[in-house]
């Protein structure tokens, strides 16, 4: 009896956040008739795809024990640069995409190099980048959104492939790449080892500087991609895109069970974390809950999810 009870509760805690997501979905299915429809599920997935891409990159950074506050700003910088090359009848589609990704990558590499060479705390480096990249975005656009984009460009965020919105496909692709890198490659191993015990990793010959640069580069690259998708979805490269997204991405990662102390975490958990926030936003909107109360609920859920997760160990 007691053993079974213990087992049950241990299962609950092990998959706590996942079960939380399932319960949330069940409740919403009963309360709001429109929740469990194919259309709404696709809606939710499309809505979370942007934060999702940021969160996958963020997972790598957080597992190494770092944090990346600059993803929202990098997203915007990549978006405005990409869109400025995406007017109809100018360059082929590949140009804005590649340049946008390179901008994201570049910012990420700068973050990584400053963190790993100069040993400045990631919080500070990315706080500085967050401020500076937003400023650059403003300078680049003079504060005005970049508009008049080609249809091809707008297809990225607005199009469908086999009835599935393209952003969802991109997000799933990024998540799979994340899983692959983190769990199947040497790089992934090194990411865990640095977060678990940096000096042990160093002493084992892990090139800590490279790996750190790598995770920030990855986070920047995914932020660049998110910027392309988002600007295409809203069909404009607005310089205010992505403000505050870093906090949503971090919250998703942490809700998904990745520890801010580093060393542990999974992309799967992050995806669940992203979905919890997405489902919650969607459900509260469907139930017509005021945005003010939504904020209060969201704040409490962030803390509760982590609390639930802590009980696991």
């Amino acid at each position: 009896m007691s053993i079974r009870k213990q087992k049950l509760s241990s299962v609950f805690f092990k998959y706590g956040v996942f079960i939380g997501l399932v319960i949330l979905c069940l409740v919403l299915t009963f309360i709001t008739p429109n929740f469990l429809t194919a259309q709404n599920i696709l809606n939710i997935l499309r809505q979370v795809s942007i934060i999702g891409m940021l969160a996958v990159g963020m997972t790598f950074v957080i597992i190494t024990g770092g944090i990346d506050l600059s993803v929202g700003s990098i997203l915007a910088l990549s978006a405005v640069v990409a869109t400025s090359l995406a007017h109809p009848d100018t360059y082929p589609l590949i140009v804005p995409i590649v340049v946008g990704l390179l901008v994201g990558l570049g910012c990420g590499v700068i973050n990584g190099v400053v963190v790993s060479r100069w040993k400045v705390a990631p919080f500070i480096v990315t706080l500085g980048m967050m401020t500076a990249a937003r400023g650059l975005t403003m300078v680049y656009t003079n504060g005005r959104p970049v508009i008049n984009l080609s249809d091809k460009y707008n297809f990225i965020g607005g199009g469908y492939v086999l009835d599935i919105p393209l952003p969802i496909i991109i997000f799933v692709g990024i998540a799979l790449i994340g899983v692959f890198l983190l769990n199947f490659t040497k790089f992934g191993r090194h990411v865990y080892s640095i977060g678990g015990n940096e000096s042990a990793a160093r002493l084992s010959g892990v090139n800590v500087g490279w790996v750190q640069t790598g995770v920030f580069a990855l986070s920047g690259l995914f932020a660049g991609l998110a910027g392309i998708v988002l600007s295409s979805r809203v069909m404009a490269g607005s310089p205010v895109l992505g403000q505050g997204y870093e906090l949503d991405a971090i919250a998703s990662v942490v809700i998904g069970g990745t520890s801010l102390m580093g060393g542990v975490g999974k992309i799967g958990g992050t995806v669940i974390g992203v979905l919890i926030i997405g489902v919650m936003n969607n459900g509260l909107d469907l139930m017509n809950v005021s945005s003010y109360y939504q904020q209060i609920i969201k704040g409490i859920i962030i803390i509760l999810a982590v609390l639930l997760d802590k009980k696991k160990s």
Binding site: P33, N34, G143
Partner: protein, 303 residues
């Protein structure tokens, strides 16, 4: 103030399930940002009108992000609402939301600010921010006699109202080569930021004759700095929105004027148009509710 009454949760009606099952008309509303007093005024008018007409409202807050508004329109489409009222945050960024509603054959009423694809919109209800920018600048230009030094306090860069009001400001200025802009910068609609910015500008030996603020909050912040420097007799300040605090300031002569935007008229008209459209009745393409200059002289009309 300080009322605990929640805005939207208790929106109009409560009875019945959601969705389109009953014959009650359901309208989905996406506000640009419910942290903005003016938008909340529109919300109040909307809610009151909906209650009067027995309409069910589903209200969502874009929280200053165009992509949120697109998501919200997607949710409305899933919920099969009868009509949508969109109060767009971003002229361009919120435009895809209109496309989606049109594709789903749901009438869409755009409220208060414009979108890039106005041609697809069922009805536009609102005022033209461009116009507001012109009105305030023109008044200042007249007061200065076409000659003098000004500073401009911008809204958040890239915000649709900031973009349009700046265009309006600049359009008038083009006619007055003797009016010089000494400095312009964003204070993000924020009183405290405007206050600091103005304090710093006053320090830098500028001879400012007028402050053109793109909303009242910033105008009031600027006044605070001007008053502290005892320059209130020398510097004229104007804002936009006619929020209660600003009306009081106009009455006391602290602001030379503000520009009134009719929140109530806009909100009510939007609901009326949405109901018409939902019932399949023909609607006007544009319902234009003009801005009005508020000075000490016509103040009583606006209280």
């Amino acid at each position: 103030s300080g009322s605990q009454n929640s805005g939207s949760a208790a929106s109009g009606e409560t009875g019945g399930g959601s969705g389109s099952s009953d014959d009650q008309i359901t309208i989905g509303v996406s506000y640009q940002n419910l942290q903005n007093e003016f938008i909340i005024n529109i919300q109040d008018a909307l809610q009151a009108k909906a209650k009067e007409l027995g309409i069910k409202l589903i209200e969502t807050d874009g929280q200053g992000k165009a992509e949120n508004q697109i998501s919200q329109i997607e949710n409305f489409i899933t919920q099969k609402v009868d009509a949508i009222i969109l109060n767009p945050f971003d002229k361009n960024g919120s435009a895809p939301a209109v496309d989606k509603a049109v594709a789903a054959n749901i009438p869409i009423i755009v409220l208060n600010a414009q979108v890039a694809n106005m041609d697809k919109v069922t009805t536009y209800v609102g005022s033209d921010d461009h116009e507001a920018g012109k009105i305030e600048m023109q008044y200042i230009a007249d007061l200065l006699g076409g000659k003098g030094n000004i500073v401009i306090l911008h809204g958040p860069n890239g915000h649709s109202a900031e973009v349009a009001r700046t265009e309006g400001n600049k359009e008038v200025l083009a006619k007055y080569p003797d009016i010089k802009i000494l400095a312009e910068q964003t204070a993000n609609w924020d009183r405290a930021q405007a206050l600091s910015l103005m304090e710093n500008w006053i320090q830098s030996d500028m001879h400012i004759d007028a402050v053109v603020a793109q909303n009242d909050e910033m105008a009031l912040g600027a006044y605070k700095a001007v008053e502290a420097a005892k320059l209130q007799d020398k510097i004229k300040i104007i804002g936009i929105d006619a929020i209660p605090d600003a009306l009081k300031a106009v009455e006391e002569g602290k602001l030379v004027a503000t520009v009134y935007q009719d929140a109530r008229g806009q909100g009510e008209k939007a609901v009326e148009m949405a109901v018409k459209a939902a019932k399949g009745e023909p609607t006007e393409k544009t319902v234009y509710i003009p801005f009005q200059l508020v000075t000490k002289d016509n103040l009583n009309q606006f209280k």
